[in-house]
């Protein structure tokens, strides 16, 4: 009887899982098939039907000739804008987070827990709250509408998270390791460089994925602090979808949305395995 029950339970669980997976994947499927149809087929055909002829013209158009407002250069220039913003922002915030985490976890000083608490508080500050003061500050620094300014905003906003990640990873590493290294003659930076960084791969992967996804997908900072030549891809996507010359080109919209999402998908596919591992790994066994 119990084995019957077990099988029944299993069947139920799998049915539910498959059902929810389908619901979750349906939009992606619709996006993908729509992006491969031509506009006639979309108007006349079924939303979920497979395309009659696979047609990449919508992708090409989305990439280099679709209009985003008055410009008609496709997403390509904005894609590279995003790359120029994301790469330095991710690297800088991750490196600062690693240093902060190392200090907060292994070199406790008076008030270090207070400082950590205050940093944590930063995780809960909503974007909207800092919009105006940050705009003022950037203008005052002469960084308004620049890539550098945008990178700076993302770095500052990201440090709270990256510090939290690294601090929690390093706090599980026994303090005796630092003590041993100090007696061995290693200083603050030598210990960080020679001992802590080499065992930080999992948490680096987690932090990089997290920061990359956050910054690449950011829309609000992008739309507020960027200028005409520095808009990230999310802003361009929004403009593209909202600009209609003649009829609405759903296939181009879909292709553009997928292009905008591809890099984060790619990062996740390449490093997702380490992401889960890094989140669950407490410390390095030794």
């Amino acid at each position: 009887m119990s084995s019957m029950n077990l099988r029944l339970g299993r069947t139920l669980i799998y049915t539910l899982l498959i059902g929810f997976a389908l619901i979750y994947l349906a939009p992606l499927y619709v996006m993908l098939v729509t992006s491969l149809k031509d506009i006639e087929e979309i108007r006349s055909g079924n939303l979920i039907a497979l395309p009659e002829n696979i047609n990449f013209s919508a992708w090409v158009k989305a990439w280099n000739s679709a209009c985003t407002g008055s410009e008609c250069e496709g997403l390509a220039p904005y894609f590279w804008n995003s790359v120029r913003i994301v790469i330095p922002a991710v690297l800088i915030s991750t490196i600062i987070g690693a240093c902060n985490g190392y200090v907060l976890a292994q070199w406790q000083f008076k008030g270090s827990n207070m400082l950590f608490g205050a940093l944590l508080f930063g995780c809960f500050i909503p974007f909207q709250v800092i919009l105006l003061p940050m705009a003022k500050l950037l203008a005052w620094l002469g960084l308004a509408n620049t890539v550098v300014g945008l990178v700076g905003v993302h770095v500052v906003y990201g440090i709270t998270f990256t510090t939290l990640f690294f601090r929690n990873y390093y706090v599980a590493i026994p303090n005796e390791l630092v003590r041993a290294a100090r007696l061995d003659g290693a200083g603050f930076f030598a210990i960080f460089w020679r001992i802590f960084l080499p065992m930080s791969t999992p948490i680096f992967v987690v932090t990089v994925i997290w920061q990359f996804t956050q910054i690449w997908n950011d829309f609000l900072f992008g739309v507020v602090y960027s200028g005409p030549g520095t808009q990230p891809i999310t802003v361009a996507l929004n403009n593209l979808v909202n600009t209609s010359v003649g009829g609405k080109e759903y296939n181009v919209d879909m292709a553009a949305a997928i292009i905008a999402a591809l890099p984060t998908l790619l990062v996740y596919l390449v490093a997702g395995k380490y992401f889960v591992r890094g989140l669950t790994a407490g410390a390095v066994k030794g």
Partner: protein, 365 residues
């Protein structure tokens, strides 16, 4: 060279004082053991010697150098940690090299040192492995190798054997002692295991609540304890403490319904203390079956009602009662079996090395 002098050292964390004025003079080449129950401050004291904890007041000398405010890396000491603290991403060889590289030794010298140390500790075949691929005993060896490589003036061992299983612990204990004989370097060694303390030390400092209770050779600590705490802490099975009334400089023991007036060595001190009752400290091996040739002048014979026996192999511990308090005797296995079946045994008590304590203060009389 490797002598250590500690003068009136105190250490406080905020309001709590954990070391309350430590004075110790450790000779060059001596094997000193700091022993005591957990929370007695022994590890803190070691960390103060290493420089990993700041000293609140007092002074610390290594050799002739005042190192009170010297950076740990410049004190010329090496430490073996309880958790071994091997660098997990480095191979065994790199672990051993690390300290030498940090001190910018020439490469050829590092190579030959690593070779020598690996040979000495028989870890040559492990040099390419990562710490996670080693067993507990092997990690212990590597941790010692890392300390040895620098040939410092002083070695510090912080409970190095407590993570090993019982058999390996005894093996490594012997090995550490051999190593000390061979190198002749000063060692300060922290443990809570009184057997380790007795077997390894040249001298032992017994600590409690941040105070050194007694500082002496294992023989002195065992046979001539300064107070009841030291007597109780050192020795396994533990010393018997029997509260007795005093009569004419002798103590009264009631056993098996009969009262015995027992002679103790410190008669004069006992008389002049003016105490009516006293705590008699007797190690279990002083209470045995009657032996033919023992005559220290302090032998008494009596019978003991045995409640339970615990055979340990070489001898059997018998638990009885004196003055209504539990007492352990150490019998031969044959007599032990008889005592268990009959519930009663004839014993002799040798009070020649008995020690007496003030029942209120625990101070030695």
């Amino acid at each position: 060279m490797g002598a250590i002098t500690i003068q009136e050292l105190t250490k406080s964390y905020g309001e709590t004082q954990v070391l309350k004025g430590i004075d110790l003079a450790i000779n060059d080449g001596e094997f000193l053991i700091l022993v005591g129950p957990s929370g007695c401050g022994k590890s803190t004291l070691m960390n103060c010697i290493a420089g990993l904890e700041d000293i609140t007041s007092g002074e610390l000398f290594i050799g002739d150098d005042n190192v009170t405010n010297v950076n740990p890396k410049d004190r010329d000491i090496a430490m073996v940690f309880q958790s071994y603290a091997l660098y997990p991403t480095m191979t065994v060889e790199r672990n051993i090299r690390f300290g030498l590289e940090m001190r910018k030794y020439p490469k050829a010298e590092i190579d030959s040192t690593v070779k020598d140390v690996a040979k000495l500790l028989q870890i040559e075949h492990l040099l390419d492995r990562k710490p996670s691929q080693l067993s507990g005993g092997q990690r212990q060896r590597v941790a010692m190798g890392r300390a040895l490589a620098r040939s410092p003036r002083v070695f510090l061992f912080d409970e190095p054997l407590s993570n090993l299983d019982a058999k390996l612990r005894v093996e490594m204990r012997t090995e550490i002692k051999k190593l000390h004989k061979r190198l002749g370097t000063t060692i300060v060694y922290v443990t809570h295991d009184q057997v380790e303390a007795m077997t390894l030390a040249d001298r032992i400092a017994v600590m409690k609540d941040g105070v050194v209770q007694q500082f002496g050779t294992p023989y002195e600590i065992y046979n001539d304890p300064a107070n009841r705490f030291v007597a109780d802490f050192m020795g396994s099975p533990a010393m018997n403490f029997i509260e007795c009334t005093v009569k004419d400089g002798n103590v009264i023991i009631e056993s098996g319904g009969q009262h015995h007036e027992v002679k103790v060595p410190s008669t004069q001190a006992l008389k002049s203390s003016g105490l009516d009752t006293v705590v008699l400290g007797l190690r279990p091996e002083m209470i045995t079956e009657p032996k033919p040739h023992s005559d220290s002048g302090y032998i008494s014979q009596m019978s003991l009602n045995v409640l339970v026996t615990e055979p340990t192999g070489p001898d059997t511990l018998a638990f009885g009662e004196w003055n209504g308090q539990e007492v352990q005797a150490r019998l031969s296995p044959e007599v032990g079996v008889k005592a268990e079946t009959e519930g009663k045994v004839e014993i002799q008590v040798d009070t020649g090395k008995a020690v007496l304590f003030d029942p209120k203060t625990g101070a030695r009389i």
